[in-house]
């Protein structure tokens, strides 16, 4: 039972980070119908950026985090303006490819500047673990869960009550109608990308802190995000969160119980088996909107 609980809690923590990145993915998809395969690279940039600010410039934690988020937002805006704007209206495969190309460029930049070794992330959380009943939980994990919870609340309130949030939902629903209502769809696109970059950067900082090390493998999370968003539903933010937590827990449980049987590597393939299952049973995900095709 203890083993199960430990796996489940680890799964929840990892899942919360998947949920963060998935939220960014879903926000971009909802607002612009673009599938951003470069989400994992935003994570990388957030992690490395905060690492540089903390170690090279010795900024205090809050300043480093805020500056990283600001830079991430600027990057999101720049990418939307330079790369995605010319591709409005192109078929979906072109858009997928452009984000794949973008992910290659970002990964190359990170690799070129910082190399492929693991860099240690400074200890930002005290190392004494919290005790959740019988199970020790490291403080970094608890912070990560807390951050995701906080973000969920913040975004729910933003989308429900603020003017910009409602404008984004309107654009996601129908761009033409939103334009005719006077909403600047261009600004909404830019905002969506900025938010997604910021959210991923937070995920990157958290991951760096949780793992106490930053390396290229963070980008692989970008691939793991795809089963999460499909499970939750491509256009549903609560779905992204539910999907993230579910996939985190399920992959950890699968890894914990099936690894001894199969000789390892189950954790990597489990989310994709779940993906295939969901695509066969409920292709639009748990909370996604069913697309009705009209000829």
């Amino acid at each position: 039972m203890n083993f199960f609980l430990q796996l489940a809690i680890n799964g929840l923590v990892v899942g919360s980070i998947y949920a963060l990145v998935a939220m960014g993915f879903v926000i971009i998809y909802k607002a612009t119908s673009v599938l951003n395969f470069a989400q994992g690279e935003f994570l990388l940039l957030g992690a490395y950026g905060s690492l540089v600010l903390l170690t090279r410039f010795h900024l205090p934690l809050y300043a480093a985090v805020l500056l990283t988020l600001a830079l991430a937002a600027v990057l999101g805006l720049a990418i939307e303006r330079l790369i995605l704007r010319p591709l409005v209206g192109e078929p979906v495969i072109s858009v997928i490819m452009v984000t794949l190309g973008l992910s290659s460029i970002l990964r190359a930049v990170v690799q070129g500047i910082w190399g492929t070794d693991t860099r240690p992330f400074p200890e930002v959380f005290p190392s004494a673990p919290l005790m959740l009943g019988q199970v020790p939980v490291s403080r970094a994990y608890a912070w990560s869960l807390g951050c995701v919870g906080g973000r969920l609340v913040a975004f729910s309130l933003f989308f429900k009550y603020s003017r910009l949030g409602i404008a984004m939902r309107a654009t996601a629903f129908s761009q033409q109608v939103a334009l005719s209502m006077g909403i600047s769809v261009r600004r909404i696109f830019a905002l969506a990308w900025a938010i997604a970059a910021v959210v991923s950067a937070v995920g990157g900082i958290l991951l760096g802190a949780v793992r106490t090390g930053v390396d290229q493998s963070l980008a692989l999370i970008g691939l793991k995000v795809l089963p999460v968003v499909i499970l939750g539903g491509l256009d549903s933010v609560p779905g992204a969160i539910a999907g993230g937590l579910l996939i985190g827990v399920l992959e950890n449980l699968a890894g914990g119980y099936l690894d001894p049987l199969c000789g390892g590597g189950v954790k990597e393939v489990a989310p994709f088996v779940i993906l295939v299952a969901i695509l066969m049973i409920k292709p639009y995900g748990l909370f996604g909107k069913v697309r009705i095709e009209r000829v």
Partner: protein, 348 residues
Amino acid sequence: MMRCGDFKTSYADDMAIFDSGFARWGLGLLLLALLAVPAFASGYWMDVANRIGIAVIAALGLNILTGFTGQISLGNAAFMAVGAYATAYLDGHLGLPLPAVIPLAGALAAVAGMIFGVPSLRLKGLYLAMATLAAHFIVEFVVTHWHAVTGGVNGLSVPAAGLFGRALDSDAKLFYLIFPLTCLLVLFAKNLFRTKVGKAFVAIRDQDVSAEVMGVDLFKYKLLSFGVSSFYVGVAGSLLAYQAKYISPENFPISLAIDSLAMIIIGGLGSVLGSILGAIFITVLPELLRLGAARLSDVFPGMAGLLASLKLGAFGLAIVLFLIFEPDGLAARWHKIKTYWRLYPFSY
């Protein structure tokens, strides 16, 4: 010489691959010239030429599926792995002769492709891309864990290709296997789209609901498209096994599938010429970068260390720039250039 208008007077003329005798003879001469390449090229460039041939076949397979039938697939690496491991097993363990191994490897890959194509009946666009991505990871898992057949993480060594009793152990000799095979498969693909099956594929891409209304059996033709495409990719994987002489799961990462997608997008979706041009472009780009970095390393020391990230960055940049400025690909640009010169100076 070159026709400056489109005046066809019979169905046969309309369906012909070549517009004029000049085009036919020109291509024939080009192929003959290419056959003479091994006499001039060094060992390294023969390796590049072989890799180009393999890439052309793989890109052609993917283009049949994605460009002509509209089914986005990220599973190219997985099906190449199936073809390669099948070759290593059939030739290494079972000792079958090469003319039997390559078609069998292709057939096994075609079966795998059809299995993973089953979701295509219910899924479209992004969702199908996700399913094929999952297929990649599942195949990778199977390959890494099925030690008995695939050697697990350690991989398998592939015996040298042997044809008519002689071993094809040098890159030049392998070229004489790969090049004719490539030409044959290109011709087959070109002809495929003059037949009923090929036109059914294109109908599915353009508007599948209407195609179904017109009597095209969607499921049968989608599966057939997956099968034909995976056959091509399996043959490419098989040739890759013979060329690399040692295969392991590391030969087939997801970036291989992304490379193939880049080839057909840069080359031009739905165009046989596009697959060839795109494959050449993507295979030669890292080589040019390597040469450039070697020349510049005197001026900028440390350039050699940056080479890996330069290759990755240039690849991404090429994709992004092509998609922004040349979304229809190299084949479309080639046709535009040809049309311009065909009608010069009266291009309007």
